[in-house]
């Protein structure tokens, strides 16, 4: 078991003919991911790695069934690509692309409210269910099947942590990056509720960082709804404060500060251990696996 994706998941790749789309599609195929079609406007009729390419998502779906789409289109046109996938009824969208204007993301999220589609990202490193399905930048050899569900705000820390866990004999049920942009679709709370419902996940690992209030919200959600053990890491204790958002920035947050101390306090208050160093994570996870089950 796993969350969101597994060996049955049928994927389309939007932007498959581009440099990244092309390169990473091969990586996904090598891993065993089932790619049914690619989409690039103006390139319909081609094929890449023996995958048929269509001009539009709708045309691809006339011939193939798909559950998920991964988007490699550039940031300036990514909004259009996401809306196209939503309107075609795709259930899961992975927006790998960074550089989306925030205004576009606001409009996309508004559209998602009226649909059944889940958007991961923008600026996500992707998702992996080890041994079954990979769609993203993750180096496959850092992951192996197991019992820990990982949701992370950082791509590289996800790989690093999974690698550390594997070296300590701990595998993952599913690992995903929720994306590094100020506004993203699928967040920590969504990840927590999926992992809570997934029988294969025994411990949940959240890799957070400074900024925003997702960690604080996650802590509140854990207290109410999560019975499984949760471990956390928070990056950015030493990071310089972000760009000044004027007085409005202080007003809008209404005291929800989103700095290292507030996140640490929020997790500790609900009994979630926070690793000070990455190398502490495997120990904390192992302890939770023994204690919890």
């Amino acid at each position: 078991m796993s969350i969101l994706v597994n060996r049955e998941t049928r994927l389309i790749v939007q932007g498959i003919t581009g440099r990244y789309g092309n390169f990473y599609s091969q990586k996904f195929l090598d891993y065993g991911t089932h790619i049914v079609a690619g989409v690039t406007p103006g390139k319909g009729g081609m094929s890449i790695h023996e995958i048929p390419v269509f001009d539009t998502v709708a045309e691809a779906l006339q011939e193939y069934q798909a559950d998920a789409s991964i988007i490699f289109a550039p940031g300036s046109v990514a909004k259009d690509a996401i809306l196209e996938a939503v309107d075609s009824g795709i259930k899961l969208i992975l927006c790998i692309v960074d550089g989306l204007p925030v205004r576009d993301v606001m409009v996309v999220k508004r559209r998602l409210r009226e649909s059944q589609t889940i958007l991961i990202g923008p600026n996500t490193p992707g998702i992996i269910t080890p041994g079954e399905f990979l769609a993203g930048f993750m180096p496959a050899h850092a992951f192996k099947p197991g019992k820990v569900g990982i949701a992370s705000r950082s791509g590289t820390l996800t790989y690093q942590t999974a690698d550390l866990l594997c070296k300590n004999g701990v595998g993952q049920s599913t690992a995903l990056g929720i994306g590094g942009d100020p506004i993203v679709g699928f967040g920590f709370i969504d990840a927590l509720s999926y992992f809570e419902a997934d029988p294969a996940t025994k411990t949940i690992l959240l890799i957070g960082e400074i900024g925003g209030i997702q960690e604080e919200q996650a802590a509140a959600f854990i207290k109410e709804k999560v019975t499984k053990p949760v471990i956390a890491f928070i990056g950015g204790r030493m990071a310089p404060p972000g760009s000044k958002m004027g007085h409005a920035g202080a007003i809008v947050n209404e005291g929800r500060v989103g700095n290292f101390a507030s996140k640490l306090a929020a997790f500790e208050a609900v009994g979630v251990p926070v690793a000070k160093l990455l190398s502490e994570i495997p120990g904390l996870v192992k302890k939770s696996l023994v204690k919890g089950f």
Binding site: G75, S76, D98, G99, P101, V102, R103, D104, V105, M106, V107, K109, R110, P125, G136, F137, M138, P139, A142, S152, R153, S154, G155, T156, L157, Y159, Q160, L164, G180, P182, I183, I207, E209, I210, G212, I213, F233, G235, G236, R237, M238, A239, P240, S243, K244, M245, G246, H247, A248, G249, A250, I251, V252, E254, G255, R256, K276, L277, L278, S279
Partner: protein
């Protein structure tokens, strides 16, 4: 992109919002041109792209041309909150009857625009918001439909504006929202919004932050940007660089990774000299530009290059070797730790590097510990 005050005001005025009469001055001699148009009483404002300027002494009032000239002499060429003052905005003084606050900001939690209004504008608006939250009125806007007229009526009534000024404020809010939406701003703030003795509204100070990701559709605004040389280099190479005051240079593959490395270095007693994420540019020479920027900082006592990347590490490794070859006089310790796609190949390339003070490390924590220890011997 944080706009300087005069740039923000220029954009606001192009949307029909009134601003004070003023001039930008870069040389003290130009004072005479400005003061003939503005009168005796003037206000001088250092143009730096950062908030909290008033409290840091970046705003001065002058009651004669001579006084203005003296102010200019001390301001131009000085440093304010870490930025050199190269431009001063000199403006007419306003006959102030009241100071209000209006702003539009992106609420990243609710993922929608938020409009904020208060009758109690000025430098202490944050305290007002904390101590009497009801005096600062806010409303979330549906990005599909924009700010509606009934919402502006609600805002001005709830904030406590009275006729006839409240109808004017309502109109201003609509204009402000248009500025926010059409320029892809993340923040547009007028504080104070001044009601003058003769009953006019004027944007006495303005702050705007434009979404960097949206600059591709705002060519005029992106031309206003002034970047320092390292900033410009970093941007061209698609890497993210924030210089700090420490001694240990940091290069990470990914923003989260770079932050975690900084934390790790600090945990072992070192002081990070920067934040640098070369992740997005790793396949396109980002490592070369990034390392070059750090090697040009003589105060550094060590550099840590650490990453777990989904990018092609063999290209990154070649960039490191090539950059070190260009810096023949460099001899500070450098620790490299790379894992990820093609890491074996990357390691082979690095092993061939003739740089004498190059060290390798396997683990994430060990690499941080190693650079801290090596830097202490420097």
């Amino acid at each position: 992109m944080f706009l300087r005050e005069h740039q923000a005001k220029f954009i606001l005025s192009s949307f029909g919002i009134s601003i004070p009469k003023g001039h930008i001055i870069t040389k003290v001699e130009d004072i005479c041109i400005a003061s003939t148009k503005l009168g005796k009483e003037t206000v001088l404002k250092a143009q730096v792209p950062v908030g909290g300027r008033g409290k840091a002494g970046g705003i001065k009032f002058a009651s004669s041309e001579k006084e203005a000239e003296e102010c200019l002499r001390t301001m131009l060429g000085s440093q304010l909150k870490g930025y050199p003052v190269t431009e001063v905005l000199i403006e007419e003084t306003l006959d102030i009857q009241a100071e209000y606050y209006v702003g539009v900001i992106t609420d990243t939690v609710k993922s929608c625009p938020l409009v904020i209004v208060s009758t109690q504008g000025g430098m202490d608006i944050e305290e007002v918001a904390r101590e009497s939250p009801q005096a600062v009125v806010r409303i979330a806007v549906d990005p599909y439909f924009g700010l509606t007229d009934y919402q502006t009526r609600f805002l001005v009534n709830r904030a406590g504006f009275e006729k006839p000024i409240k109808d004017k404020i309502a109109k201003w809010l609509q204009q402000l929202y248009r500025v926010y939406w059409e320029t892809d701003a993340q923040l547009v703030e007028i504080n104070p919004l001044v009601l003058t003795a003769d009953g006019n509204l004027v944007a006495a100070d303005a702050k705007m932050v434009i979404d960097d990701n949206a600059l591709f559709r705002h060519s005029l605004i992106s031309e206003l940007r002034v970047l320092s040389e390292p900033e410009l280099k970093a941007e061209t190479a698609n890497i993210n660089y924030v210089p700090l005051d420490g001694e240990i240079g940091i290069i990470g593959t990914g923003a989260g990774m770079a932050m975690a490395i900084m934390d790790q270095v600090a945990f072992f007693g070192g002081k990070p000299a920067n934040f640098m994420d070369v992740g997005p540019g790793i396949n396109n020479g980002g490592g070369r530009v990034g390392l070059d920027i750090l090697l040009r900082r003589p105060e550094l006592k060590g550099i840590l290059i650490s990453g777990y990347s989904g990018g092609r590490l063999e290209l990154f490794a070649s960039d490191i070797v090539a950059t070190l070859a260009e810096h023949v006089t460099a001899k500070l310790p450098i620790v490299v730790r790379l894992q990820g796609i093609n890491d074996d190949e990357a390691q082979e390339i690095l092993q061939q590097c003739p740089y004498e003070n190059l060290h390798f490390s396997q683990g994430f924590d060990e690499a941080a510990l190693k650079i801290v220890e090596l830097s202490k011997k420097e």
